[in-house]
């Protein structure tokens, strides 16, 4: 484990930024935080959650996939990918790091999504332990330890120091570059911090939310539940929950007519939208109840069914704080699982 005085944080960022672009949470000037490309003057904001999740780095809201150009009777297909630079994401929370595993299973399974794979390969993730989890946090339900975040490098912050531990080869290489700014240390400062965090987690209001009623093989049990109608009653059908979610991964592919050709792009889709999964024959989910059910069944039943029991929610709490009508996965889990609100 290495440590660095917080007074040298800017030097550390400077050093990282010399070999790869550095992104970290900074103010969005509207009360929230957004991952921002570091430059002199950009201050790291130690907030719990950014409004948008770091999935944007690997799976951006919209991206151009390819271009078709018409030349006489021929159609030329152009690969228009530009990204090839290495980058470092600093300050990723344990829940968000876990979300990358959820996304990897979708995009890196055969057939591999080369756009996603390319960005993933170029990134180094420095996670950050959570010193002040919020009332909306429930990552422990998914087996996530906020005191021991994963990633290429794990980081902890005390009053005056930053502690860094490499977990992967990539992480070790990065820390090696920072050796002049850091010093070797043991975990005597970090262990009590971890214990403190774990004690905080136990005091959180959503501690103890249970997943035992969800997962593989539960489709028949919940699919026709009359509760879906009641739970989705006030849903506006907006895409907020899906767009701030670190694990929502649905997308739409469309063609944009440029006048002299076509740009094929993909953009996030939302199961909350009326044209979600609309196909030539029509739409398989015509009501908001069905679309609402899809979101929660996907996270709590279908995804685990196809991914060795892994849930596609990480308990970050973004949907809890952002849903315009305050309906969310915790309320759904408690209602369906039979727990009294």
């Amino acid at each position: 484990m290495r440590k660095c005085s917080l007074s040298k944080l800017t030097d550390l960022f400077q050093k990282i930024n010399e070999s790869a672009s550095l992104y970290l949470p900074a103010t969005d000037n509207a009360g929230g935080a957004v991952y921002t490309k570091w430059a002199d003057g950009v201050e790291y904001l130690d907030v719990l959650n950014t409004v948008r999740s770091p999935k944007d780095f690997f799976f951006p809201q919209s991206e151009n996939l390819m271009e078709f150009k018409l030349k006489g009777k021929n159609i030329e297909i152009l690969d228009i990918r530009e990204e090839s630079e290495d980058f470092v994401i600093f300050g990723v929370r344990a829940c968000d790091v876990k979300s990358f595993e959820v996304l990897d299973r979708v995009f890196l399974s055969e057939p591999v999504d080369s756009y996603y794979q390319n960005r993933r390969a170029h990134a180094v993730i420095i996670s950050m332990a959570c010193m002040r989890p919020a009332d909306t946090c429930f990552c422990t339900a998914f087996g996530i330890d906020a005191a021991e975040p994963a990633g290429d490098v794990s980081a902890w912050k005390t009053e005056c120091d930053l502690y860094l531990k490499a977990n992967t080869e990539k992480g070790a290489q990065l820390l090696a570059k920072l050796s002049n700014l850091t010093e070797e240390c043991d975990d005597s400062e970090v262990s009590p911090l971890q214990e403190k965090i774990r004690n905080i987690m136990k005091k959180l209001p959503l501690e103890g939310i249970s997943l035992e009623n969800f997962g593989k093989g539960k489709t028949k049990e919940y699919f026709d539940s009359p509760l879906w109608t009641e739970l989705s009653e006030a849903c506006l059908g907006c895409g907020t929950c899906t767009f701030v979610c670190p694990t929502c991964q649905c997308y739409d592919i469309k063609d944009f007519d440029t006048g002299s050709g076509v740009i094929r792009y993909r953009c996030w889709d939302s199961c909350m939208y009326s044209d979600f999964t609309k196909m030539a024959h029509g739409n398989s989910r015509n009501t908001q109840v069905e679309r609402f059910r899809q979101r929660f069944m996907h996270k709590l039943v279908y995804y685990p069914e196809n991914n060795d029991g892994l849930f596609s929610c990480v308990g970050c709490g973004r949907c809890l704080s952002k849903c315009p009508i305050s309906m969310n996965i915790v309320k759904v889990m408690k209602a369906l699982g039979g727990e009294k609100k």
Binding site: G32, Q61, C238, G239, D252, L320, S321, I325, V330, K334
Partner: protein, 330 residues
């Protein structure tokens, strides 16, 4: 903070449900915490007693739900309306969006609703309980032993901090005392933006709108947005767009929406309340309201059912285009 307490609303609704005078009640339902209140339709008085809430976090305007919910019922739906909500209620009636006789409107006085984001900014995160006091809130977090006292006035939703009226403009029954139309400062911020140079103004809006994630929450919550199929969702419209591929596109969405609701927007403030990115969308609408007031005389959408908005009503006294520019120059 609220002067009329939950029990008054609850007993009213439960009595009408039990007597069969209404078939269902549209109100606010309890969540996991004090602040995560969800709009809900209650069908029995038992459900009401278990889950109905009326507290300082009932900011959601229930009017728009009447469009879909009244269609599903044979009988009447009781709805609770705060003063600002009654303006949306009237505007929806003016636009024939639901049947008046299917609704029993109960007006509730409101002392302003709290913004939980502002509350957390002052009291800290990790809230374990929130108690309403006479002057605001007593907030307990898992991090502090003593509760933090927060003044209600410091954590009001934007729409409440600039409340335009405490008077209910439509109802079947009023619980508590009627309020007055207020002399609010709601156009101050608009004036500040008007005073900018066009470059500054462009930069201001570009900065705000660049945060947009096109979740459409502003549109979906808006009581003036009740089109059966929005042009932005319609694949046959040529204007459908799901993601902001360029900053121009996202500006277009908001500007077009502001134009579409101009003269019909009651300034209920829901667009800004629900925006996950805290974009001050209400300012676009307020600019239109201010301009309409300047060019055509004071007009408040929703103040009166059936009123004709200046933009859709021709009179011989209407300004000519050149006068508009003259007046703007003044």
């Amino acid at each position: 903070m609220q002067k009329v307490n939950r029990d008054v609303l609850l007993e009213k609704a439960a009595a009408m449900l039990d007597a069969g005078e209404v078939q269902a009640v549209l109100g606010w339902g309890a969540g996991e915490f004090a602040y995560d209140v969800t709009p809900r339709v209650f069908e029995t008085s038992d459900e009401l007693r278990a889950d109905f809430v009326w507290n300082d976090f009932c900011g959601a305007n229930l009017s728009k739900y009447l469009v879909s919910k009244t269609k599903k019922l044979e009988g009447k739906l009781l709805v609770f309306l705060k003063p600002c909500d009654t303006y949306s209620f009237n505007q929806l009636l003016t636009e024939h969006r639901f049947e008046r006789e299917k609704v029993y409107a109960v007006a509730v006085p409101c002392e302003g609703m709290a913004d939980v984001q502002k509350l957390k900014a002052l009291a800290g995160d990790g809230i374990s309980s929130i108690e309403s006091t006479d002057s605001g809130f007593s907030v307990t977090t898992i991090y502090d032993d003593a509760p933090v006292e927060v003044k209600g006035a410091d954590v009001l939703l934007e729409k409440c901090a600039n409340c335009k009226s405490r008077k209910h403009v439509a109802y079947d029954e009023l619980l508590g005392d009627e309020g007055e139309v207020l002399d609010s400062n709601r156009f101050d911020e608009v004036e500040r933006i008007e005073a900018m140079t066009s470059e500054e103004r462009f930069a201001f809006w570009q900065g705000e709108l660049s945060r947009c994630i096109r979740c459409n929450a502003c549109r979906d919550v808006c009581p003036a947005c009740t089109c059966e199929k929005c042009v932005f969702d319609n694949p046959n419209s040529g204007a459908e767009n799901k993601a902001p591929t360029t900053s121009f596109e996202e500006q277009m969405f908001h500007v077009i929406r502001a134009f579409h609701v101009a003269g019909r927007c009651t300034d209920c403030g829901e667009c800004s309340r629900v925006c996950p990115q805290n974009i001050p969308l209400h300012l676009l609408n307020r600019k239109f309201i201010k301009d309409i007031n300047t060019f055509y005389g004071e007009y408040q959408a929703g103040a009166e059912e059936g009123s004709r908005a200046p933009l859709v009503d021709y009179t011989l006294e209407d300004l000519e285009a050149e006068d508009v520019f003259k007046k703007e120059a003044e």
